[in-house]
Symmetry: D2
Subunit: 489 residues, 4 copies
Amino acid sequence: MDLQMPPAHPFDDDKLKEECGIFGVIGVTDASNFVALGLHALQHRGQEAGGIVSHDAEHGFNSARRFGYVRDNFTSQSLMQTLPGPLAIGHVRYSTAGSKGAQIRDVQPFFGEFSMGGAAIAHNGNITNADALRRELIERGSIFQSSSDSECIIHLMARSLQRNIPERMEDALRRVEGAFSVVAMTRSKLIGVRDPLGVRPLVLGKVADGWVLSSETCALDIIGAEYVREIEPGEMVVISAEHGVESLRPFRPQKSRFCIFEHVYFSRPDSIIGNRSVYETRRQIGVELAREAPVDADLVCPVPDSGTPAAIGFAHESGIPYGMGIVRNQYMGRTFIEPTEQIRNMGVRLKLNVNRALIKGKRVILVDDSVVRGTTSRKIKEMILDAGAAEVHFRIASPPTAWPCFYGVDTPQREKLLAATMTEEQMRDHLQVDSLRFVSLDGLYRAVGEVEGRNPKQPQYCDACFSGDYPVEPSDQIKKGFKLKTAAE
Amino acid sequence: MDLQMPPAHPFDDDKLKEECGIFGVIGVTDASNFVALGLHALQHRGQEAGGIVSHDAEHGFNSARRFGYVRDNFTSQSLMQTLPGPLAIGHVRYSTAGSKGAQIRDVQPFFGEFSMGGAAIAHNGNITNADALRRELIERGSIFQSSSDSECIIHLMARSLQRNIPERMEDALRRVEGAFSVVAMTRSKLIGVRDPLGVRPLVLGKVADGWVLSSETCALDIIGAEYVREIEPGEMVVISAEHGVESLRPFRPQKSRFCIFEHVYFSRPDSIIGNRSVYETRRQIGVELAREAPVDADLVCPVPDSGTPAAIGFAHESGIPYGMGIVRNQYMGRTFIEPTEQIRNMGVRLKLNVNRALIKGKRVILVDDSVVRGTTSRKIKEMILDAGAAEVHFRIASPPTAWPCFYGVDTPQREKLLAATMTEEQMRDHLQVDSLRFVSLDGLYRAVGEVEGRNPKQPQYCDACFSGDYPVEPSDQIKKGFKLKTAAE
Amino acid sequence: MDLQMPPAHPFDDDKLKEECGIFGVIGVTDASNFVALGLHALQHRGQEAGGIVSHDAEHGFNSARRFGYVRDNFTSQSLMQTLPGPLAIGHVRYSTAGSKGAQIRDVQPFFGEFSMGGAAIAHNGNITNADALRRELIERGSIFQSSSDSECIIHLMARSLQRNIPERMEDALRRVEGAFSVVAMTRSKLIGVRDPLGVRPLVLGKVADGWVLSSETCALDIIGAEYVREIEPGEMVVISAEHGVESLRPFRPQKSRFCIFEHVYFSRPDSIIGNRSVYETRRQIGVELAREAPVDADLVCPVPDSGTPAAIGFAHESGIPYGMGIVRNQYMGRTFIEPTEQIRNMGVRLKLNVNRALIKGKRVILVDDSVVRGTTSRKIKEMILDAGAAEVHFRIASPPTAWPCFYGVDTPQREKLLAATMTEEQMRDHLQVDSLRFVSLDGLYRAVGEVEGRNPKQPQYCDACFSGDYPVEPSDQIKKGFKLKTAAE
Amino acid sequence: MDLQMPPAHPFDDDKLKEECGIFGVIGVTDASNFVALGLHALQHRGQEAGGIVSHDAEHGFNSARRFGYVRDNFTSQSLMQTLPGPLAIGHVRYSTAGSKGAQIRDVQPFFGEFSMGGAAIAHNGNITNADALRRELIERGSIFQSSSDSECIIHLMARSLQRNIPERMEDALRRVEGAFSVVAMTRSKLIGVRDPLGVRPLVLGKVADGWVLSSETCALDIIGAEYVREIEPGEMVVISAEHGVESLRPFRPQKSRFCIFEHVYFSRPDSIIGNRSVYETRRQIGVELAREAPVDADLVCPVPDSGTPAAIGFAHESGIPYGMGIVRNQYMGRTFIEPTEQIRNMGVRLKLNVNRALIKGKRVILVDDSVVRGTTSRKIKEMILDAGAAEVHFRIASPPTAWPCFYGVDTPQREKLLAATMTEEQMRDHLQVDSLRFVSLDGLYRAVGEVEGRNPKQPQYCDACFSGDYPVEPSDQIKKGFKLKTAAE
């Protein structure tokens, strides 16, 4: 088990990766079945592994953690029968930076037995002071089982002086810095928390007589749950059969800074965030792009699948026809075990093919969601030119990604980010395309509904990956040598 | 192995299924690596299993057959090293009607050792007199290892009086009725054949100093091969290092009848068939539909992914905005092992979700490629209405599918086809939609370039699934009780 | 599947290997469960793979073939439920000489569909004219699926002109030379045959209202069946519900030549062969050895486990105390996948350890069943000396193995047999032991009850491995260059 | 992983089970390879799972834990390459009482990261105050990952105030009650400890320039290590490259009480314990039995394999011939996954068969090592009588097992022990045998070399399972309701 999981897609190193999706249900029969479906709908937030913990009166806490897709593991009767009960939480994850390799013990939810009973937690986000906390906890005699930053939370809870689990969780989370949305459970309670800035999403839903917590609304849809509201930044909800949903405010209030990249790429287009349709926002980014960076061309072509909504918006605004110039192979899975040399070198061609008949002789606008390292963009450009395109214009539905994220997103080191070392013109030359334009930061803010654009004094969102403006100091990273943006930059 | 493969997707019973993709390469180093990539590109033609046979001087014939996706099996170094040599063929398949369950011995290529050496064959299509041939061969002492109709070919070859393998293959195929494209190999030759009507596709490509045979051109693209031409109906090509490509005509010439459904659904949109872009043809079907069956609405929405090109064409022609009203979960795989009750009942909701924010309050035109049983159409309609659509109009990019295919496509029995028992209006009522329209048969013929539409005296294509006009008598089926279309119908 | 089975035990190359065990039952509920138990009891006759075919009215013939032990495959409910019906046969096998590697298609029973219905056969033995038959059958158009000599039988049956399956089997077996015990089945009949010399064993048993055929009586015991009698050399029994056991004599009568090595090593000690207890025979060989080759010593020690009965006999006859000087590790399995260098070099020490406290300072008589290459004997001697034995005397409970077996036993090539190139003294020097003695051929015959010893004019047993006197000419081998014993030898 | 391991052999519920074997090496290249071999030799002490931890300078601590036999897991190059370094420890285990099912997280060695570096420990024995310790540790904020009593040790170490790991281990073990032999490691030290009574074994060996710790000497033999001495009761050895073997005495001295059942059954016959050959001791028990409980009979027959040495002694002393009346099937593995009804009911007949020809008409003395529940004894008796034995006499090479063990042996609850509720005569009647005799406690003590027999004032061994005299109070058990022996009993 320990060493069989190769890192990831050969060609997926050119996207930022959300690290986790979380989901919990209380008050329904066989809650774990609902959690399995919810996690399946959140699979885009983490494909490496998944886990579910349930509780029932007869067996107590039950747990299963597996590498691979939810649909390949948590759909079988024989496994799901081991997870009975009216209360369950689950987690899908992408990976844990810093670990030697994928280990089943790193897969959440994490579980701890306390003197007043057990608790399980699932965490989306990243704790920016995890190294320091871990060191402190080890000094005091805690034994860590995983390499995950999230494990700190359960150890802090174990050591809390408080007398019940929700209070211990409050106690623990007050020591934690960074971005976190948490779904947790005790024997009888489902708990949800968002950090004071509300960086990562978490929503509340209602299904029959029960309640649901989920990273995104698309996972409410799959189980037929009704969307109630977002958990608010800094809010903690404790849900039980007896008292329903209780709302607490354990943290000092702050102005919220939701992750704007959730709108750009992470969330599914059929989700609703901040009462806005993600699809519509992305389509609107395409409209903004067409206004900011028009170009005379014959075809607007999305880079599938994430560029599609913006391409539709660009085509509509510009009046240039929309077409599927690039076709995706639907039978790509995740990873290769011991691949042949040839497979290793195929890269994006295993996944995408150019629709040569459509592209040939045309001036093509390619709309993509983002450029990270630029490696995929370059290969796609080559495929398009090989197919006989007359011109290739890239339009990117986000500003240049110039800074790493330390709040639960897997980003390359800063020096690997194309935009960290190049201007837009340099990137255009590097990619050897006829033109390359990113939507402006203000254009992006307008697309998410901020008609005045970004407020530079007090930005409405966390946009650190574009701006270098980190709302929480990444203290562990700074100790490891990361340099914050200087006044000169 | 014998019994672990459940039938198929819970919700895929509502599409016709191409049963096979075939691919072969000669004259390159490690031909099997090219075959693996080619089969990966042809995976949409068969997802249940795949096989590769190669030949090299040291080991003779080498073979590997596996259940599951090409990418999960034929990408690993340790397997591919067992398939060395400059000559290889491969096959992906969907399933074999009539078999008790998936058996590895049914997976092609089939291999036979003859007195003059071995041969392997991979077959796409269906032999309509296979039952009769099988009975005859068993009477003579042949032992069948599989339940596949294709195995007849290798036994007929084994019993031929001819002295070399290409001649034995001619001999064998002259006894065979139905639709077949075949890729075969001897120790030193790659052979390709299409039946006299040319029902199933087969193309010739060139890669470096070698030659390629493939079901579709998209599989030439993935290995960087150049498209040379189609193998012609009734043509047999024998390719060797010494003599290059030799073209033979073993059959009595007939007017060709290519499968028109390859244009509608089976082939990949980035393939070229009959010198026409499949994508462009599908887009044009959407244009024809918009002309034949216009409707006042707010949104043109494809049923992903196969309805997309026609939806783009419909939107363009009608001027109604195009939008992604239905979002696909990218993490669906193939089949479930021992699924829970809940999973079994989820159906299409595991794969698709409605983009509620976009759909709400709108009059929606849903564009799909075909309606088979109508079960999926009905579920999609419900999801759209649940999301608050004001009206739902179905526009189908093919005529009503009223007859089963006996030429290599997996179709339900006739009585399960919605269009076999209902008129267009009855189907509309059955599906409870505001309107339902199929493209006309003439409209479809126009979209594939026949400006005059279908020639009813001598149809240019095989369109039996729409018209009931079978170009080859399905003799085995008639013996089992299938009734041909009567003059009255 | 194709390539995952490494050859065999690192230290088992020093025993002859029985290649097969066969078993069949008719007239009981869930016959395949009985077959599974019977095969488990016959596992010593073949450990590489096993297969079962059953027949029931609803599904027709059912089959499962697996690599590995019977107990690891044919004990699970989910598999056994796929093998229903009142009639079943099974096979365990060691390996197929000449094949590239273990292939599931080489695993018996073999099945053929004929015009009058299907038949399955399981074969123990070896066909000495299989190469010639295969060539002839291929010329006539048969397609072989396996590399097994046994497959000839089913193809000969397929081509027979006879009208029912038992007659076709007679017809086929008359063309076959060599040693064979066969268990076969049709839809309603269980069939057993032994070759005219009766080289390999086959017995008949009765269980409840049904009948059993088995290689050995120990497999009757496990299912609680009563031993009825041996199938006689040259006899064919056809067993059905309607007619019970019918006995036929399809072959020209000959004097029987049962394999004497079955008594020495192959059969289990709790089996009865020729109405003699195998255990008692082996014990008696020890008695003969003690008489023929006495030696002054302190301890009689068996080489576990096959030397134990002869050691008990030797100790009893000689009056020298019996003791467990060598202890076996009970947790050895079969084969190693990709073993480390160290494991590869461990050899017999992984399986055996010396009981140092018992051996130290003693003059030790080691009793083993046979010496093939002598590699294991040498290692055991070293272990005994390392433990401080004063003297080491080998006593071997069979004559020198100087000739290969071509009748269904896996033997090394002649030049690898220690006794093919060395005299008894040379072997003693080679093994560097204080003395080495084999039981004489006459002593062995006496132990099996031939009080006059071996009849050199007309030997009562097949003892070709000791004498070079082959009762059936090994014609395929002679064509490949094998030299029969000359008058001078 | 969590739920795939069925409890155990259907017929192994009638033996006591040693729960663990431990092994460690320092100062050799690729220490983990030595550990794998050592664990293979100790496999009889635990078959359910095994684990190895190694340390090397480049990667730090490396670990692998697997269900199943050592030979099936820790022999492959690809796994062993992940365990590099000159220092490694390992563990095989049987099971953990009280757990819901086998869980990989229960498999030792356990690992903890402390502020001064990591440590791994492997424990053989049982902590009798584990429940109390666990409760206390949880109160203080420790999070337990397993259900194993052994995990207490590593948490106690984590919380120790001492400054280096050996001192922390002393500190921890002083809080622990019960029986323990421990092998542990830090980055540079191998540590061995035995509890003050020395209940469980642990020996020291020398291999090349390195040192070995092992549960038994048979595991020194397999790696060619020299036996140096036993670790003494209450001794702690700390072994490093710099300082060699340092001996510490962390506990208050006590009179030792080694487990006498190690001599009777647990240890391998080729091991040396307390400078006595286990084989010779067992043979001597047979001699004592023959003296204490003679009987007129025709055959002395061991119940394989554990009854063999005592049977040899009994036969020798009594002059009654020794013979293999019961034959073992060598191809039994461990457990069945989802067994058929028939398999479940087979019990001991899957493993043993009676040598009918030998038994028939004879008066048989069966020598077995112990009687626990009596279920297997009863089945064996039936098999012997079915085979036609005239009389059946049981002679048992241990006193009646009347009390459970709480020191690391898996025993049934007291009421399930036959001898807890029946006298010898009642047991004889229950088993329906002609006679049944156990060796006396004094006879057993004489066989292990105590010529005066047992000292009732101060017993030389722990014989609680026979006497009810527990040298360490089983405090957790008493809290759960276990009743100690009363003066009246």
